[in-house]
Symmetry: D2
Subunit: 328 residues, 4 copies
Amino acid sequence: MSSAASSEKFDLIAIGRACIDLNATEYNRPMEETMTFTKYVGGSPANIAIGSAKLGLKAGFIGKLADDQHGRFIRSYMEKAGIDVSGMVVDTEGHKTGLAFTEIKSPEECSILMYRDDVADLYLRADEVREDYIKRAGMLIVSGTALAKSPSREAVLKAVRLAKKNGVKVVFELDYRPYTWKSAEETSVYYSLVAEQSDIVIGTRDEYDMMENGEGGSNEQTTAYLFAHAAQTVVIKHGVEGSYAYTREGGTFRAHAYKTNVLKTFGAGDSYASAFLYALVTGKDLETALKYGSASASIVVSRHSSSDAMPGVDEIEALIAGQPLLHS
Amino acid sequence: MSSAASSEKFDLIAIGRACIDLNATEYNRPMEETMTFTKYVGGSPANIAIGSAKLGLKAGFIGKLADDQHGRFIRSYMEKAGIDVSGMVVDTEGHKTGLAFTEIKSPEECSILMYRDDVADLYLRADEVREDYIKRAGMLIVSGTALAKSPSREAVLKAVRLAKKNGVKVVFELDYRPYTWKSAEETSVYYSLVAEQSDIVIGTRDEYDMMENGEGGSNEQTTAYLFAHAAQTVVIKHGVEGSYAYTREGGTFRAHAYKTNVLKTFGAGDSYASAFLYALVTGKDLETALKYGSASASIVVSRHSSSDAMPGVDEIEALIAGQPLLHS
Amino acid sequence: MSSAASSEKFDLIAIGRACIDLNATEYNRPMEETMTFTKYVGGSPANIAIGSAKLGLKAGFIGKLADDQHGRFIRSYMEKAGIDVSGMVVDTEGHKTGLAFTEIKSPEECSILMYRDDVADLYLRADEVREDYIKRAGMLIVSGTALAKSPSREAVLKAVRLAKKNGVKVVFELDYRPYTWKSAEETSVYYSLVAEQSDIVIGTRDEYDMMENGEGGSNEQTTAYLFAHAAQTVVIKHGVEGSYAYTREGGTFRAHAYKTNVLKTFGAGDSYASAFLYALVTGKDLETALKYGSASASIVVSRHSSSDAMPGVDEIEALIAGQPLLHS
Amino acid sequence: MSSAASSEKFDLIAIGRACIDLNATEYNRPMEETMTFTKYVGGSPANIAIGSAKLGLKAGFIGKLADDQHGRFIRSYMEKAGIDVSGMVVDTEGHKTGLAFTEIKSPEECSILMYRDDVADLYLRADEVREDYIKRAGMLIVSGTALAKSPSREAVLKAVRLAKKNGVKVVFELDYRPYTWKSAEETSVYYSLVAEQSDIVIGTRDEYDMMENGEGGSNEQTTAYLFAHAAQTVVIKHGVEGSYAYTREGGTFRAHAYKTNVLKTFGAGDSYASAFLYALVTGKDLETALKYGSASASIVVSRHSSSDAMPGVDEIEALIAGQPLLHS
């Protein structure tokens, strides 16, 4: 690495899993009848990094890859997408790449068959997180799933501490997945720890309920709690009802979902986050940023993958302007 | 299950893993560049059961399947292949189906990327192996890999004991795979234990070396050891040099490999075993059985899968007669 | 529990391990030659609770006990010492009580043979930590060892959060023990997390070095770091050179060790903490509190146990006044 | 080791655990009220080796010891008892010595508090069992508990195979302890495997029921099963009703328990086995051997330990002759 390269600044660095999605090539059928699968890079923080890189942001990534064909594919794909992969380390203990087989029975009935036991990304260690890398970023994007197990958990907690120490904004994408976590209490403990230190928190209402170890929590309580700590902006998504952004100063903004021809529901959250953060980084106001997020999500759910399908700025802006591009 | 069904006899029952192969749809390239994968049933004992069922034998299976789309696909595929699946139990602890991603760079360069950690088949328990099922078989086919980990290990040891007790012949396919096993010593202990109780032992020279916890063992020593215990027939395969069958009475037979247009090397051993056992069950002599094994192996390595590609009797016999069928 | 009891206030509640010490009955010899062992309650937070209860403070305890004779002995002993044990839960999964066999070759050569694998105290769960109990305390005493493993780790992190939320002071006794921890990085991550939230931090210079994941750190750096977060008081112990107390306001105080007839070195830290905290709770100034800590430590190292040997106020004050009591 | 030493013959070699018993120094009370414990060597095969060495047999031992004070005490004690300890290896992975705290409430109410999780003896590996050592023995004494977990399980299975190969008699002391075993099925699988290969099998009726994975089995069924395999002699103990010995040739012998002043019930089985085997080795008939076993058991249950208390030949013979020695 040249000294020029190593002093390069990043708009954002994401930390957590980069995995393989195996999407049903033939859809509208149960997976038992699917005979071929198409391979994509997947995993929430990887998708966010890819999505934001496609929008023109300078992105880095901290994660651990299996020392095999799947791991090498992920690195190569992300590098080609323009992401700095110098923070991605290779596992030396034989752990495998996480897999997600997707089943698309219908736009309403999608499910995922996960291979997440002892996968390489969960073996990222705290000593593999470097302060000199994190301090080059404007934002650190933390994915909640990376907190699910040690030693990845400690790697993320260290990254958050280093970000705070160096004035790097912490963005927490709750990204709750029930597998790997041992209990709701455990999730709540670590989600609270990181949320209390985060500048921006993004999640669905259900995910905030996990953080609060309860059900049916209100946005008022959630934002009161987070603004009592470090949060500046809190985004709470309510599915088809749209999403809300709250500011520490008291502002509330709402965005509606864009109409689209839904193929599957996967990838909506990651595309939302990447476009929302892109808008913030490029100086757009919060209301516009919400629109960017919603538009990007609408585009991705109409397509086959969650990473390869990430839209460019022109597509997002065309959708917001009511003029979806003919060819996407 | 009707009482008629439950008194049905089986030519053979195989015990062990039934998994998913994800074979590179595009081949002659590294897996990193393979973008789609085709799904097949895989796993040595499953392949042997499928192969022998295709040849007309009545086969049963004892194993454990994941409670998910992959597990259901395997059961359904094997049932359609004519195998009795009433001995296949469904895992209730969230274990996943074993996976094998195959990479076919060239006929000489094939490799497999395995997902075998904590897979469902290794969780078959001794209490799930039923004496009334095993006693209905003429032969019990034991795959060495099923000995690699508890509780599957104990399930197989129990099955062997029940077979011996009920006069069911034990066929041990060494099927050595380095993953899962903790040490060569451990492999040697269990391979020896089962081999000493087996009527027929089948493996490559390298696999017998594992059993003996050494290198470069001779066929003479191996057969002397096995014939001092329960073995009647010992088959030792030497790759392209062909295979040998030894009998307790002192006979030695050799078979050569058939010329074929090799696509990949996977599946050769399983097709060999299924055709070899078919020949024995149908009363052919040992020399002919070796030819059946070699011919079936030659056919499978020229095709894309290891299970779906299993040949019928007419194809095998045509190859032996020097008249390969035009369409296969 | 009567409603009177459940509204009772505690000067402090300690959280973490309560174990069994098996102290060599015959000392001045290697353990190989020790033929009998005497049983005591042990474990840093239990010792602190016992020590402070002996000094007259009202103490509670949160921990998990084995469901066996050792667990019942601990509960009974602590209850007799005047500690509220309603926060101590009984393990239902067969975990054992931690053990420490002590070897006293000479006052300078003491060692401990630990049984800490999968011990009951490390299985305290977050859902067993109750907000209504913690809010009754003036202080929560956290022992660093309880952070070494999940789920005890999460139980402590939750307890700290509940303490902060309810205005209960957090006292962090670093209590670093190398067993159980997987790596220095892991220790550093959790020690930092809790130290940043603590009002009072107590430890040896070596323990602060663990927190900082380095060696040879200076008290200046350590206090600068902690006072940038929540700390009000930081105590750093330098063994025979005495100990220092630093205040957020810039004060520095030093205490020297009292001369004593050392039998063994165990228990010094716990007796120090209990007397130091007793002095603070009863309104003494920091300089006096340091003396209380040093005096109590001096007394305990001259005696056979770490818990049963905890002194009363009169003994401590007599030692400080230069008039050690004749009979202790 | 000199070549002379390494060609020395052993009457027997025992394989399995050598642990620490911590016996209540004060008895006739619950353990909660016991304040001191006395340390002894314990563990069934260690006790049998010690007992037979005291009777004058030449004994060896294969096992794994913790690298700590307890491990060194065991080695030293056994060496002083005249046992060859060259087959005892030292654990290098930090495993601890197994512990048994005994509680003696009354002669009828004894219980044991066990520390058996991940103890060193269960980590003996197959590669640490040497053929040149085993072939020097007349008998290999296998303790069932050593089969409870890998890798000790494989070490024992290998030792049994090497004993068979070299004409060393295999004696199987069922020694069933519920801890460590995962299920009754698992126990049954390995107990059957070893029992089928053993020349002499010794156990209580309850232990044979475990082997048979059932309840209320009859001695007739048990002996029919074992004599259909390798057994020459089968000893089945029925507690206070005495014990039976069966021979392959059809003989049946019965021994009654000797009256004694029972202090505790621990150690009865091990002393029985050592004296019974001593009698066989020294050419006594089966009926006499049963008396030796019963007499030795009667003596040990009247004393405080299970190892140190093992009687000499004169004590046993005096008891059999109806003239218990005054001083023991």
